[in-house]
């Protein structure tokens, strides 16, 4: 049988050595291509839908703070996403800062301090935390967290208003701080799972080495945490990216106001909560849908950048410390 160009191409894949293998590979390629197609389609859609607003406003759509929707007069419309971008990054940073000590402690407690009998049921609980739908967290944030944050934030803003973080007196419990705390609660189990996975892979010999020097349990934990530091950084970076993309829970507690403020006691907005709250009405205006897609592009870019950076950081660390060849 003669070898066609397709056959030659397929044979270049490692593990393809016969006609049977070629057929097998050919049959499975569409599945892989679907994934590629999905990413390309997403990128294509976001770029295409962002064009109207971009060609009108240019990059001002990302750097401007004005959000002006005018029905029936497209020329008067103007959309600046900066408050939303600021809010996304700000709330996610707060979330990661709170989640960092919580997730590290949770991972260490589960791996190091939990008796074997309890470990199964406790890790089921953390699995459940990660599997709980975001809308349930949002419901809790709306009905419990926000009303209970309000007195705390009021107190802070009346007693510590000289700190810019608490400079504004809250008008309700729906604030940047509430969104940050809720996002922290949601991302802790995820970050803890990433850290746990690395921690559980530390060889017994390294653990024994730490103990054999006469280190206390806490000192051993500190040494071992140093060893999995990249997974902590990566886990928190991924948690940050997830927080930036989180939609329904945040939109229920952040108050949705287009302002840029350092005060966490003020209400705010994030890109995804803006999309969630405005998309339904966007059809009444000429450029708003496009502006919201441009916001999607921003989340897209932040998520991709953080993910790539986290993976790159892990790789580099592995090469440097673990001696894995590049």
């Amino acid at each position: 049988m003669s070898e066609g160009p397709l056959s030659r191409l397929l044979r270049r894949v490692r593990g393809v050595r016969s006609r049977d293998d070629e057929r097998f590979l050919l049959l499975h390629l569409p599945a892989s291509l679907t994934l590629l197609l999905v990413i390309l389609a997403m990128l294509g859609v976001f770029i295409a839908y962002s064009i109207p607003v971009m060609s009108r406003e240019g990059f001002h759509v990302f750097t401007d703070t004005t959000w002006r929707a005018v029905e029936g007069d497209p020329q008067a419309e103007w959309y600046g996403l900066l408050p939303a971008i600021y809010g996304s990054v700000y709330t996610s940073l707060i979330a990661v800062l709170i989640a960092a000590p919580l997730s590290v402690s949770l991972a260490v407690a589960l791996e190091e301090l939990t008796p074997r009998r309890l470990r199964g049921s406790l890790s089921l609980l953390t699995d459940l935390m990660a599997a709980t739908p975001t809308i349930i967290y949002g419901l809790w944030g709306l009905a419990f967290l926000a009303p209970h944050m309000y007195p705390i934030l009021s107190w802070l803003s009346s007693h510590a208003s000289w700190i810019p973080l608490f400079s504004k007196h809250p008008s309700s419990g729906y604030t940047i701080a509430t969104a940050g705390v809720l996002l922290a609660v949601m991302s802790t189990p995820f970050a803890a799972a990433v850290i746990r996975e690395a921690y559980s892979m530390i060889p017994l010999s390294i653990r024994e080495a730490a103990y054999s020097l006469g280190a206390t349990r806490l000192e051993v934990i500190r040494i071992l945490l140093g060893m999995v530091k990249p997974s902590i950084v990566a886990g928190l970076a991924l948690a940050f990216a997830r927080a930036v993309g989180e939609t329904v829970a945040v939109s229920l507690v952040i108050g949705n106001s287009m302002t840029i403020t350092p005060s966490v006691t003020d209400s705010g907005v994030t890109v995804s909560s803006l999309i969630a709250s405005q998309f339904g009405n966007a059809g009444f205006y000429h450029y708003m849908t496009s502006a919201l897609f441009a916001g999607g592009l921003v989340i897209f870019a932040i998520g991709l950048a953080v993910n790539v950076a986290a993976v790159w950081y892990m790789k580099k660390w592995e090469e440097k410390v673990m001696g894995v060849a590049p």
Partner: protein
Amino acid sequence: MPRSLRARKLENAVGLAVIVALAIASVLPLIHILYMVIVRGVEAIARIGLYRFLTEPPHPFDPQNPGGIGPALVGSLELSGLAIAVATLIALPASVLIAEFRGSRISRGTLLLALTLVEFPTILVGLTVYAVLVDHVVGGYNMLAGAVALTLVILPYMAVQASEALRGVPEGVREAAYSLGATRLKTVYALIAPAARRGILVGILIGLARAAGETAPLLFTVGGAYEGYHLCLYKVGGAVPLMIYQFIQMPYKPAQDLAWGAALVLMTIIVGVMLLARLLVKEVKIL
């Protein structure tokens, strides 16, 4: 500076106590969430009875007869069922490709694509599907768009999970399977994949849990209609998580009660699926 053993012991005790306290603090919210969902959910469901709550359409403005979540529940079943079926049909071959051509560029590329998609915010998937199916193909909100969006959300996760399960098949089993001399297709699907069936099944179950619980991909796709049973794929419909999102924001007590009842139903499904997954394998990977 020489550190006394006593100081170190104290530091050890305090440090460990702080770690345990923070760990407890991080799981307390979930416990409180479960508590709240159960208390408020039971209250809402008890008012009308479980059967009627699960089957009747909602009356969010009627305190006398608030109705139930029937249409949303059926919509959720339809959407999740379709999403799981289609996602499995694509994720399984993708995972076979990743696992069978290990070390090749195409395998690494496919895995990288799947891993990237897993981390993509689901709201972006929803917007993409809106642009293609709602805005262009159908010309209005429709259930098909919701099913496609959910499929795309769970597909990459299931592909990664299944490829890991396939990779866990011992080399001895693989060699024995290949030594029987069947075609590669038969060997993989009749002998190797069944050896990894537990892991694959867990991937499907977690995929199901996600499909049932996701809200953001449905925001701009299915529309949200709850008055009657909308099963037609080209028309608007609803789903439980979307209903919770919309009803909890209404300033009416019956609507909010319906949301809490729906949350209890949703959580019951999630917990059930998680327990089932846990029975199949010891370590469930939910990432």
